[in-house]
Amino acid sequence: MMNFLDKDNLQSDIVLIVIFTIAILTMPIWLQPFGAAYPDLMQKFAIFGIFATGFNILFGLTGYLSFGHAAFLGVGSYTAVWSFKLLGMNPLPALVLAVIAAGIFALAIGYLSLRRTGIYFSILTLAFAQMSYNLAYSVLTPITNGETGLRVLRSDPRIFDGNGSETGPLVANLFGIEMTGLSGFYFCAVVLILVSWFAIMIFRSPFGLMLKAVKTNQNRMGYTGLNTRPYALAAFIISGMYAGLAGALMCITDPLAGAERMQWTASGEVVLMTILGGAGTLMGPMLGAGLIKYFENIFSSFNESTLESVFHFLPEGMREAAISVAGLFVGEGWHLTLGLMFMIVVIFLPGGIIEGLRRLAKAVFGRKRADDTPQRGGDTAPTGH
């Protein structure tokens, strides 16, 4: 099954995108047995999938580890809500404006941060994001509405859909389709499919090859006649735009933007998603995003009584013990599980889940493919710094 991921000719990419499209659009069906077929949760999968895919274009391809990508998420959200407030509840202009705003923001931050490499770059992006976050809470309150968060009010002008004359809940509205429930999910899913297709294009293009070269050896690039800075900057802007898009999509069902979306923990989360799935792989980051959001949902919703029913089969005394031990890891303790998950993945599976699946595939179908290792560079996990 993993075979076609290793090849990079056009046919296998078309197969990949078709399978991917079908898989995404049928999520409400096949996620049923996992108890994850709520539109809300699936929408989250799609949004964080976009975020992680974009982050991977920067980190996975060029190796630049940004600790400040949540800033672009926040900019996207604020722009989208302002678009709702001023222009109306149609999500399309909101998405377009959010992508543009995040792109401009990324241009400014990237232009400065990319003057440095390694951890110095990471700290610069972190510093810019933390500044944005702190300013959004304090000085920029007129734009961001500070701690309360920015939301759409009935009194807002909304020039294209009638000055707040509508009744009913305020949600984004695509030419009459309200972005709630399944339609909200499908809207995000279509956007996800489009941007994933674009990500595949980047991976397979000469431009993508240059980005991989940036990661591998910048000196050689220079002596080969290539200017590394614009390549890295282009990757930074594109991935910032993906983040802005994800931020805007967060607002379509619940048109609210808060500064906490820009905090460094949110930046950390997307790093974790990308690495968990497999940085530099095509589908890994999306998989990582989905798994983290899925486990977050499952584990944090557990409580005493659900545990009671899970351990029902155990005898009295053991049941108590099992419940109290398991109780540490669920509900409020979900972060403990998350921390452990991370350590386990990084320790035992540094290439992420995709690398694990690849090894598994090799073990199962292995022998005849064993001779073509090591594989092409394109999809293998990063070994650089």
């Binding site: 951890i119 110095y120 700290i123 710094h385």
Partner: protein, 342 residues
């Protein structure tokens, strides 16, 4: 003028904490080449050593006083810490000095934690990419802080400073200002002196002992020192333990200033990392200088006069300074070429 002096003083104790954490981070990075995102958690663990000692000393003996009745007619409970009922005055004094006494507990505890961490986990990450080191220690930090949360709860736990240091010192008088123009809590002075002493001890240790000499040589050129047949791994393990102790002590003594909670480590970690990078990765002096510098700048930025000119500056000053320094000096204040740039 007195305002400026006050702000410098205010910045110094926070700067001391930054400097201590950054010092440990730099030691670990310089010797082991590992970026330790769990270092904030070590600071937090130190603080909770103090909490544990304090709570242990405060275990109370409950006796019923039949002569005094509550309004509900039950005998009044008298709660006396065991230590006081057993040792009287001495016990009360011990209780009073719970925080400084915790140092005695924190040193062995943090040393054991540090060495266990290095042997159990960090050791296996020497040769792995920095991104993976960051992630695994980040995961460890989350695990540690969640365990602390389960044990001690999510709320900050106030710990008093010894009564002896509870007041404020009239610093202004000593510098010829009007009386009480600058009053400064005694404990913060103690903290400042303590952090300077620890920093001095670490530097002296590195400068004047053979062990320290080998470690410094290892920081400069690990491969060569390894080739000399010196078992550098063992020394580095101990170095990690020492870095953990330094972070832990910074945490212990900080408890009267800031009531510890489970996420204080993360809050300090992000800032300490900025401090390390501003100082220059791998430079011990840079880490200390940047720690105090950023601490002082932060307290200047929170003056009302400054805030009225640059609104919101207090929120971003550290990051702003970090950005400016990194853009002007590519490797921070005292960083060396080629460190962590790949």
């Amino acid at each position: 003028m007195d305002q400026i002096l006050l702000q410098i003083l205010n910045g110094l104790d926070k700067g001391g904490a930054y400097a201590l954490i950054a010092l440990g981070l730099t030691l670990i990075f310089g010797t082991l080449g590992v970026v330790n995102f769990a270092h904030g958690a070590l600071f937090m663990l130190g603080a909770f050593c103090a909490v544990a000692v304090y709570q242990f000393l405060n275990l109370e003996q409950v006796t019923l006083d039949p002569d005094n009745l509550t309004p509900w007619g039950t005998p009044m409970e008298i709660r006396v810490p065991y230590i006081e009922s057993w040792f009287g005055e001495t016990g009360a004094a011990i209780l009073n000095f719970a925080v400084p006494l915790s140092i005695l507990v924190a040193i062995p505890v943090m040393l054991v934690i540090g060495i266990t961490m290095e042997r159990g986990l960090i050791k296996h990450f020497y040769r792995r990419p920095h991104a993976e080191q960051i992630l695994v220690t980040f995961g460890l930090a989350i695990v540690i802080q969640e365990i602390i949360k389960v044990w001690f709860g999510a709320n900050p736990i106030p710990i008093p400073a010894p009564a002896l240091f509870s007041g404020s010192a009239d610093i202004g008088a000593a510098f010829g200002f009007a009386e009480n123009a600058i009053s400064y809590p005694w404990w913060r002075l103690v903290y400042l002196a303590f952090s300077l002493a620890v920093i001095g001890a670490v530097f002296a240790f590195l400068q004047f002992t053979t062990f320290g000499m080998v470690v410094r040589a290892g920081m400069a050129d690990r491969e060569t020192v390894g080739l000399l047949g010196i078992n550098i791994g063992k020394r580095f393990t101990i170095m990690f333990g020492i870095a953990a102790v330094v972070a832990g002590l910074a945490g212990v003594m900080y408890t009267p200033i800031l009531p510890p909670d489970y996420h204080m480590g993360m809050d300090f970690l992000v800032l300490s990392f900025v401090v390390v990078v501003v100082g220059g990765m791998g430079s011990l002096g840079g880490a200390v200088a940047a720690g105090f510098l950023l601490g002082i700048l932060q307290s200047f930025a929170s003056m009302t006069e400054v805030k009225s000119i640059f609104p919101g500056i207090d929120q971003i000053i550290i990051y702003l300074v970090a950005v400016v320094i990194l853009l002007v000096r590519p490797r921070g204040l005292m960083g060396r070429k080629g460190v962590m740039e790949g």
